[in-house]
């Protein structure tokens, strides 16, 4: 009998040892895979900084590309193009995005509110290349040519769901009594929304916009057949010739947005596939600029959120 008991206890303790060992092994594995997943991040960022950093020079930011196979030159055209496309996209996407977010926070459970949330989800899942096809069909085909404007529209569609969702999340965090207080003072709904709720949520909303813009600025697929790319794009020349010819501001802006432009990721993609080593090195430099830009916006946005949180907590 005692023998039996001893056997059981020994078995039990062996079993519990095994359970504890499994526990320790698997839980340390989770830490290990976390480290493993971060290796590519450090590898990419580190390598791009090392290799791209070597090819960074002032000419990159101030000169237009030289002909293929000739050393030197820069990617000024792509920097200008990125700025133009991104500004266009942000100005197309932000106003409707904010308005739709107001609708979503005010009417979360009406049929249209549910449809709106569903459409936002679906839009955020549409592959960016398909958005490019759509923008081609609605912009490039009717206009008859590729243009920065079409690229801006494509990126705007890409940004829209992110903007709606972040704005909605931030508006939800604004305390109800702010809204009620404003309405009780007799302010109309639109004034409450625009000058009480939106400013109260502004920090988070602006951070969300910045992250969405950073994301869109790094996109390539929707631009492949909307903005197309244009190595001879030169805003300075358009401005000078426009002023000389006495064109109005709108005419000049029209000329700027109405022709194909390059963007940084688009340039990176093209240069990386060319057989000229100096172009490949330039594509690393462009990758450096892109990574720098993305890291800057991301870190600034997070620090900003953290500092706000700390201040709010006391």
């Amino acid at each position: 009998m005692t023998h039996f008991k001893e056997l059981i206890t020994r078995n039990l303790s062996a079993r519990s040892r095994r359970r504890k060992a499994t526990n320790a092994i698997i839980l340390s594995l989770t830490g290990l895979v976390t480290l493993l997943a971060l290796i590519p991040l450090f590898w990419i960022v580190g390598y791009v900084i090392l290799r791209g950093g070597r090819s960074i020079n002032p000419a990159l930011f101030t000169q237009l590309p030289r002909p293929m196979g000739v050393e030197g030159g820069g990617v000024l055209h792509a920097i200008e193009g990125t700025l133009i496309i991104t500004i266009l996209a942000a100005s197309f996407a932000i106003p409707p995005g904010v308005l739709a977010a107001f609708y979503a926070t005010r009417n979360p459970n009406t049929p249209l509110g549910i449809i709106l949330r569903f459409s936002t989800d679906v839009l955020s899942g549409v592959p960016s290349i398909v958005i490019g096809l759509f923008a081609y069909a609605v912009m490039v085909k009717p206009m008859g040519h590729y243009s920065g404007l079409a690229g801006g529209v494509a990126l705007a569609i890409l940004m829209l769901p992110t903007i709606i969702r972040t704005t909605e999340e931030m508006l939800k965090l604004v305390p109800q009594n702010l809204r009620e207080g404003s309405l009780a003072l007799g302010a109309p709904e639109w004034k409450t929304s625009m000058s009480v709720l939106l400013p109260a949520a502004a920090n988070g909303v602006i951070t969300g916009f910045l992250l969405a813009i950073a994301r869109a600025a790094g996109e390539t697929a929707p631009l492949l057949f909307t903005a197309l790319g244009n190595e001879r794009f030169d805003v300075g020349m358009i401005l000078r010739s426009g002023v000389q010819a006495g064109q109005s501001v709108w005419q000049i802006i029209g000329r700027i947005v109405n022709q194909p432009v390059d963007s940084l990721p688009l340039t990176l993609w093209k240069y990386a596939q060319q057989p000229f080593p100096e172009r490949v090195e330039q594509s690393w430099a462009v990758a450096f600029v892109l990574i720098f830009f993305v890291l800057l916006i991301n870190i600034a946005a997070r620090l900003w959120i953290e500092s706000r949180k700390r201040r709010l907590q006391g």
Binding site: L29, Y103, L112, L123, P127, S128, F225, P265, A287, N298
Partner: protein, 318 residues
Amino acid sequence: MLRVFQHGDRPWQALITLTAIGVMVLMLAIGWLLWNDTVEARHAFGWTFLLPTSDPSWNPISNKFQSWPFTYGTLLTSITALGVALPVSLGIAIFLAEMCPAWLRTPLNWLVELLAAIPSVVYGLWGIFEFLPKVVTPIGNTLSSLAHIPLIGRFFDGSIPVSGASRLGAAMILTIMIIPTITAVTRDVLLAIPGSQREASSSLGATQWETIWQVLIPYGLSGILGAAILGLGRALGETMAVTMVIGNSIEGSLSLLRPGYTMASIIANEFAEAVTQLHSQALIEIGLILFIMTLILNIIARFLVWRVARRIPQEARA
């Protein structure tokens, strides 16, 4: 009349309602335009465009197009990527939600999110010059010894190109790219499970791992499935990085180790240069298939995540 416009509330309501409708119209318009712009192609090829075939044709000169090699490439790379990324992301999410000390959690969350913020072309560039030759080629050479195993052997047939440009390379880059998506959703699902579940399990004597595996994961299962499907959706639509590393070749091989093509990358490579109407329509039709695939996946994923959110009572979440 004046009362209607008093305060401007009605116009405001009308304006925000119109934008909400506009978002819906935009979604419908994408589907409708893709459908409408493929009339001739759908008419000319019918179902043979979609069906699997051992001798696929993609020929702009004879105007004969079949989407199978691209569908196969997309499915093979995305599903392989999901198979690797899911356990890894689950591990990371468990670490972030259950194990990690509080001071480490925020920086780790940041880093994982940064992984998602790196532009796709930068992944591609790094892939071509660093990841493919240094990681993918050696792994591919090891995997090619599996070619003798019946049934799964054909997925490891042939030898991997020295450059490493192959479906395997695309699948591995996709793995890295979808880990942040799956991790973030899984972590949120785990964090949303009420603490009483953990306490009940440990008071019965379960170890922490047993609690996680036998209580938390079954509890959040549909949310985790939703996360996996969202990740799969991202992998299906990923364009630039895949186009740069997959080798862009239409060959009949089924092997993971050979170069291939995906739906997104054929559109990226050929659409701007498609001359004949049938060629560009065939490409748009591939876009339409991609749209429908991601649409269905999104609906399933949202439904699953929503079901978890509904099952967890509001007060327990805080």
